[in-house]
């Protein structure tokens, strides 16, 4: 399927290249035309001068009446004037007589050359004319004519014609050389343009690579030196990234501060009435319970909202998993659990460390809660159908497990969070929600030894 061509989507490289090539072609073509015209004029003038030499020779001989040779009465010395229809002719016409007398070269073979004057060719110097005519042999001829008046009052019109093919031939060979060299020039210009565009746009493509690396999470800043004209862009991008991180950090801090601010007085209220059994105390207990759940639930939402649109973050999973292992071994000291982890090397989650710890923390906490002896954490890398890499965490325990119908219920709860009753569940709905925010997924399965097996798919770097 052809994608619709759109000028606005044309790359800068193509724009520069196309405009440079179009301009050079127009300029080269124009220059070629001008040069051809100049050369044609020059060739005609040179040809005319040659013909003029013959005219002067004829005029000189006419004046001296030195007509000796039948074949070359005016001593032009060019055999072509004696070859019939050679394309080279002369003709002398007496003017001012009632019946003009015409003598002409043998080559004209009894034909006549027309008068340029009658063909409306303008004269210069008052007496000379040049122009093209069609000769007796249907050939194009260059004709030069001049009116001569001798002191005795006799007037002649001397005409010399030469084969115009000669002019055309020189012009043609010139044009051939001209267009060949201009073509080569255009080619050379294209090649240098390509080079210039590539070289000139190199910093831009480097910038775009850097931004790509940030998107993929393998880098957190645009680094390296850029030319003066685009380094402000790189600086702006870095600034934006910093601002983005700052906003996120601030949102988190504020959420945390709010939590702290609300939860401490809640603790006080709950404990103040803990020993009392009056209607007021019961009401306070009930309401503080609701408040606690509401606070927790909205804090989770606020945290999730603060996560939207984070780019350029990557988290090494190994230290995160190790930290959680240490934590859970301490929390579940009394259960004497073993936590095994089997992580593919160098895995990186494309997202915030806190979020990874939240998701894995809930999964492992759940596993530890139900496990009898052992919890196993595995992580491996995969490449998705759209070539995006992702990580699959596999957290399984040897506890009682969950029947299939309950599994879907636990996951579903994440899907319609608005209707979720806060404060209930296995913490798995939070995991499912968070995973979805990252374009991942949580699925539940049964482990080989009957326990619950949670599969968490997350984007990788």
């Amino acid at each position: 399927m052809m994608s619709r061509f759109s000028l606005s989507r044309l790359s800068i490289g193509s724009r520069l290249f196309i405009s440079a090539i179009l301009c050079s072609l127009i300029i080269l073509f124009g220059a070629g035309l001008v040069l051809s015209a100049i050369y044609r004029r020059a060739s005609e003038r040179a040809f005319d001068e040659r013909l003029q030499v013959y005219v002067q020779s004829v005029a000189a001989n006419l004046a001296s009446k030195n007509v000796s040779n039948v074949f070359d009465p005016y001593g032009l010395g060019d055999p072509r004037f004696t070859l019939p229809l050679s394309g080279w002719y002369w003709q002398i016409r007496t003017e001012g007589l009632a019946k003009p007398e015409v003598t002409s070269s043998i080559s004209l073979f009894g034909g006549r050359l027309p008068k340029l004057e009658t063909l409306n060719v303008p004269a210069h110097d008052g007496t000379a004319r040049e122009g093209y005519i069609i000769g007796p042999d249907e050939r194009r001829l260059r004709l030069v004519e001049r009116a001569i008046e001798f002191p005795d009052g006799s007037r002649f019109l001397v005409q010399i014609a030469g084969n115009a093919d000669e002019i055309e031939l020189t012009i043609q060979s010139f044009a051939k050389a001209l267009w060949t060299s201009f073509g080569l020039l255009a080619l050379a210009l294209s090649v240098t343009t390509i080079f210039q565009v590539r070289f000139g746009l190199l910093p831009l493509s480097r910038l775009s690579n850097e931004i790509g690396a940030i998107r993929r999470g393998s880098s957190d800043h645009v680094s390296g030196r850029f030319p003066d004209d685009i380094s402000p862009v790189a600086d702006e991008i870095n600034l934006l990234l910093d601002v983005n991180r700052d906003i996120l950090a601030r949102a988190r801090t504020q959420v945390g501060n709010l939590a702290h601010a609300l939860k401490t007085p809640l603790s006080v209220l709950i404990n103040e009435v803990s020993d009392e059994d009056t209607p007021l105390a019961n009401k306070v207990r009930e309401q503080t319970g609701i408040m606690r759940d509401q606070v927790n639930w909205h804090l989770d939402r606020a945290r999730a909202a603060a996560r939207a649109g984070v780019i350029g973050v990557a988290t090494d999973i190994a230290p995160a998993v190790a930290g959680l292992e240490r934590t859970f071994l301490k929390i579940y000291t009394d259960k004497n659990l073993t936590i095994e982890s089997d992580l593919a090397p160098d895995l990186k989650f494309r997202g915030e460390k806190q979020d990874l710890e939240e998701m894995l923390g809930n999964l492992v906490d759940n596993a530890c809660k139900w496990a009898r002896r052992q919890v196993i954490i595995k992580a491996s890398a995969f490449t998705g159908s759209n070539a995006h890499p992702f990580i699959v965490f596999d957290v399984s325990d040897d506890g009682p497990g969950l029947p299939p119908e309950k599994r879907t219920e636990v996951i579903k709860r994440g899907e319609r969070l608005d209707e979720t009753v806060p404060g209930t569940g296995l913490g798995l709905s939070i995991v499912a929600d968070l995973a979805k925010l990252y374009g991942g997924e949580l699925t539940l399965d049964s482990a080989e030894n009957g326990g619950l097996r949670a599969l968490l798919r997350l984007p990788a770097v």
């Binding site: 945390g256 939590a259 702290h260 601010a261 609300l262 939860k263 401490t264 007085p265 809640l266 603790s267 006080v268 209220l269 709950i270 404990n271 103040e272 803990s274 503080t288 606690r292 927790n296 945290r303 930290g323 959680l324 240490r326 934590t327 301490k330 929390i331 000291t333 009394d334 460390k353 806190q354 710890e357 939240e358 894995l360 923390g361 809930n362 906490d365």
Partner: protein, 224 residues
Amino acid sequence: MRLLVVEDDKDLNRQLVKALSQAGYAVDSALDGEEGQFLGETEPYDAVILDLGLPKIDGVKVLESWREAGRVMPVLVLTARDAWSDKVKSFDAGADDYVTKPFHIEEILARLRALVRRASGHASSDLVCGPVRVDTRSGRVLVDGEAIRLTSHEYRLMSYLMHHVGRIISRTELVEHLYDQDFDRDSNTIEVFVGRLRKKLGIDVIKTIRGLGYVLEPPAPPSA
């Protein structure tokens, strides 16, 4: 058992101190990180309840400084921040357990009992020494299955001895672990309490090691 409560909210601090004292602990309290850090470094506590959001010095820093100074008492961390990343941070700083606000005091009491028990190497909440049995959950003391009534000071002494069966405990140690810092520390009162306790127990389990202190041991099996 002597505890330290570091919590900046005055009401919550008061409630904790009250509830813990009622449960038979000697309790010191601090309202900010600086005071808390100082007390934890200088006084021998059997456990600490530490809030993380403290003025002056942050709770995590206080905890880290204690661990760096080689203080190994169990620490129960109290915080409003319930994200796993916060929990990992606290445990890595040296916390032993974690309770998120808002909480019920009962939860704190249960966690504390477990921490103290674990710290002295006991697996069960029932401490047993021969015919004597102390149920740390209910605070009851039984001799041959019969409950005996103890005052809170007597229970504290009994509970501390039961947590360290077979170890010689000096009078100074007892004073340090049984009374909070405001108590008039006269080691003679210890002798008075030990005497009363022996009388109430009715059997000879608390032995005096002259010049060293006391040791709790199961009575020798009756020789033929």
